[in-house]
């Protein structure tokens, strides 16, 4: 059974110019312990999808789905209280800017202590104090912070970007969640720090038996440990599947473009030559193309594309396109 099973999730909201559909029939499945990367440029709906999972969407929005299941339980059928209980127990999230998320007025030790479930610490008052401190130190070790004594006493502003993100990860894993959603945790970090955080997330997935949904804007930033990857564009799922397969033989023109636009691909071009890019800009919500939303920017688009493509499968890949690339010779 999938830990998370989303089928045809649609989110609509009323804007100043009428109703807009910000997520359009998005499906995504996540297994226990799976590391999954969700790739899409800004505005594609990645964060909304994450919010739908943890249940913090604006109640005025229209959320429909054939399925939004957590461990086989229907999240949409639950009361807000039931949902909060599940989110609080099983899920955690980290963000791009750890400093915006950490409490500026509390030390690292205080913030991590607060995140440790009360039930974890037992015994006499004194024993509990020592126990808490050991647990905080342990959590810091697990996120790769060795000089924990010094870090514990620090306030967030005293920390470097990488350490601050590690602290927010320590807080996130304190209650041993089944799913960690990392919303662009390394965008704008320098390469060595980024690499550390990525390696750490991959390692934690294994050691904590925790699923990780990594949200990123660039295929170059997906986790080395990613088993599956999904690509989202303008609220529509473009392609998902086995990472190696998808990156080696993308079926979808968007995946293909994202690969060619990655930094790694640039390294192979002549200096100062023009870089491959999708033409035009992401459409505004008011002017979403009908059918396949990539249409106006897609080099392969044809008349048929005004009808939304249904999902198709090819080995370990699923994609939504009328004219797929890299088809196996038959």
């Amino acid at each position: 059974m999938d830990l998370l099973d989303i089928r045809n999730l649609t989110i609509e909201m009323d804007g100043p110019h009428g109703r807009v559909r910000v997520l359009d029939k998005v499906s995504l499945q996540l297994k226990e312990g799976e590391v999954h990367s969700l790739v899409g440029e800004s505005g594609s709906g990645k964060s909304l999808l994450a919010k739908a999972v943890i249940g913090v969407l604006n109640p005025l929005w229209d959320v429909t789905a054939d399925r939004l299941w957590w461990n086989g339980k229907d999240l949409l059928a639950m009361t807000p209280k039931q949902r909060r209980a599940i989110t609080g127990r099983d899920m955690a999230m980290i963000f791009q800017d750890p400093l915006a998320y950490l409490d500026p007025n509390a030390t690292v030790a205080e913030q991590i202590t607060e995140a440790i479930p009360a039930g974890d610490v037992t015994g006499t008052f004194l024993h509990r104090r020592v126990d808490r401190k050991t647990r905080v130190a342990n959590l810091l070790h697990r996120v790769g912070i060795r000089d924990h004594d010094a870090i514990m006493q620090s306030y967030p502003y005293e920390l470097s970007e990488g350490i601050a993100q590690k602290v927010s990860i320590a807080i996130a894993i304190a209650h041993r969640p089944k799913l960690l959603i990392a919303d662009e945790p390394t965008t704008a970090m320098e390469p060595s720090t980024k690499e550390q955080i990525q390696r750490l997330l991959g390692k934690l997935a294994v050691s904590q038996n925790m699923s990780v949904l990594l949200i990123t804007q660039d295929v170059a930033s997906i986790l080395p440990a990613t088993q599956r990857v999904s690509l989202l564009y303008c609220g529509q799922m473009m392609e998902h599947g086995d990472t190696e397969k998808v990156l080696e033989r993308p079926a979808h023109p968007y995946t293909d473009a994202m690969i060619k636009m990655s930094l790694q691909a640039h390294a192979e071009l002549a200096p100062k030559s023009r870089l491959p890019s999708l033409p035009g800009a992401v459409p505004t919500l008011r002017h979403m193309p009908i059918g396949c939303r990539l249409g106006p920017r897609c080099p392969y688009a044809q008349k048929q594309c005004v009808k939304a493509p249904l999902v198709r499968h090819r080995e370990a890949q699923s994609y939504y396109c009328h004219f797929p690339l890299n088809e196996p010779e038959s």
């Binding site: 440029e41 800004s42 505005g43 000089d147 010094a150 870090i151 005293e158 920390l159 470097s160 704008a188 320098e190 390469p191 060595s192 720090t193 980024k194 690499e195 990525q198 390696r199 660039d218 295929v219 170059a220 930033s221 997906i222 986790l223 080395p224 990472t243 990156l247 080696e248 033989r249 993308p250 293909d256 473009a257 994202m258 690969i259 060619k260 636009m261 990655s262 930094l263 790694q264 691909a265 640039h266 390294a267 192979e268 071009l269 200096p271 100062k272 030559s273 023009r274 870089l275 491959p276 890019s277 999708l278 033409p279 035009g280 800009a281 992401v282 080099p299 392969y300 690339l325 890299n326």
Partner: protein, 270 residues
């Protein structure tokens, strides 16, 4: 012939603050000299806290140096004399959220530098605003948007639009590219390359992406704890043996999927 830009022993000192190995490094800049010609791109590299932003802010006149001189076309620039520099050296900041005014529409933010520096009728201003918005991959209708209605990538484009709207000789971009969406980033880099080819514009970019540096920079300046430890042509820095710190910065490959460029299909769009 004078250089487009020449820095002679620029330096900056800060009051020392509490510095532990794990804390943010306190930034200072030791005397730094370099030159930049018209149509060239200089990349400033170095780890976080090495003084990259300090140097770029001094060049753009956003921060005063503690000493040293800066010459534009052979003429000395004073920190106080900001108007000439303001037109000729424009800066794009790392965090477009902080550098854009949340109370003004995109159109108003682009109009501001025009009102201060150009004498043109409002119809012409609007035309220039529209064409600049399109240049950076936005739509004319975005002029009516407030920053909060835009995505991060779109806000960064507005910041870039504001920098190029005055046709400056030098654009200083502090980490402006790295957080952009891939398609926007590629478009902006192409746009920067086009502007450079057409108008001989020069760039000083601060970035930690070796891939971007290799693609667009003619020269690289490397800082280590506030000290310039290398300044040379990209070509030479890449081909000749360098000290380990320089090597890591230049050759650090973002992890994983090195096969990412694999056998994806042949059609390439522009």
């Amino acid at each position: 012939m004078s250089h487009l830009l020449e820095a002679v022993d620029l330096f900056k000192t800060f009051r020392p603050r509490r510095a532990w190995p794990w804390s943010k490094k306190s930034v200072a800049l030791e005397p730094t000299s370099f030159t930049l010609e018209a149509g060239e791109t200089l990349a400033i590299m170095g780890e976080t806290g090495s003084g990259k932003s300090t140097l770029s802010k001094i060049i753009a006149g956003v921060e005063a140096p503690s000493g040293g001189e800066l010459y534009l076309n052979g003429q000395k620039l004073n920190y106080a004399q900001s108007k000439r520099r303001c037109q000729n050296i424009r800066m794009v900041f790392q965090d477009s959220d902080k550098s854009l005014n949340q109370q003004l529409t995109v159109g108003q933010q682009l109009e501001e530098p025009l009102l201060f520096n150009r004498d043109m009728p409002s119809s012409e201003r609007n035309q220039l605003i529209n064409s600049t918005l399109r240049k950076v991959g936005l739509l004319a209708e975005h002029a009516a948007f407030y920053p909060h209605m835009l995505s991060t990538g779109q806000k960064q484009r507005v910041a870039i639009a504001r920098a190029i709207i005055l046709d400056p000789q030098i654009v200083v971009a502090d980490e402006a590219l790295v957080a952009l969406d891939p398609s926007v980033r590629a478009q902006i880099i192409n746009l920067m390359l086009d502007l450079q080819k057409d108008m001989g514009i020069s760039y000083i970019i601060v970035t930690h992406s070796p891939q971007i540096v290799k693609h667009i920079a003619d020269k690289i300046l490397i800082l280590y704890r506030g000290k310039m430890i290398a300044f040379n042509e990209t070509e030479r820095l890449l081909t000749e043996k360098q000290q380990p710190y320089v090597e890591t910065l230049l050759h650090e490959h973002l992890t994983n999927h090195s096969q990412i460029t694999g056998n994806s299909s042949a059609k390439v769009t522009e």
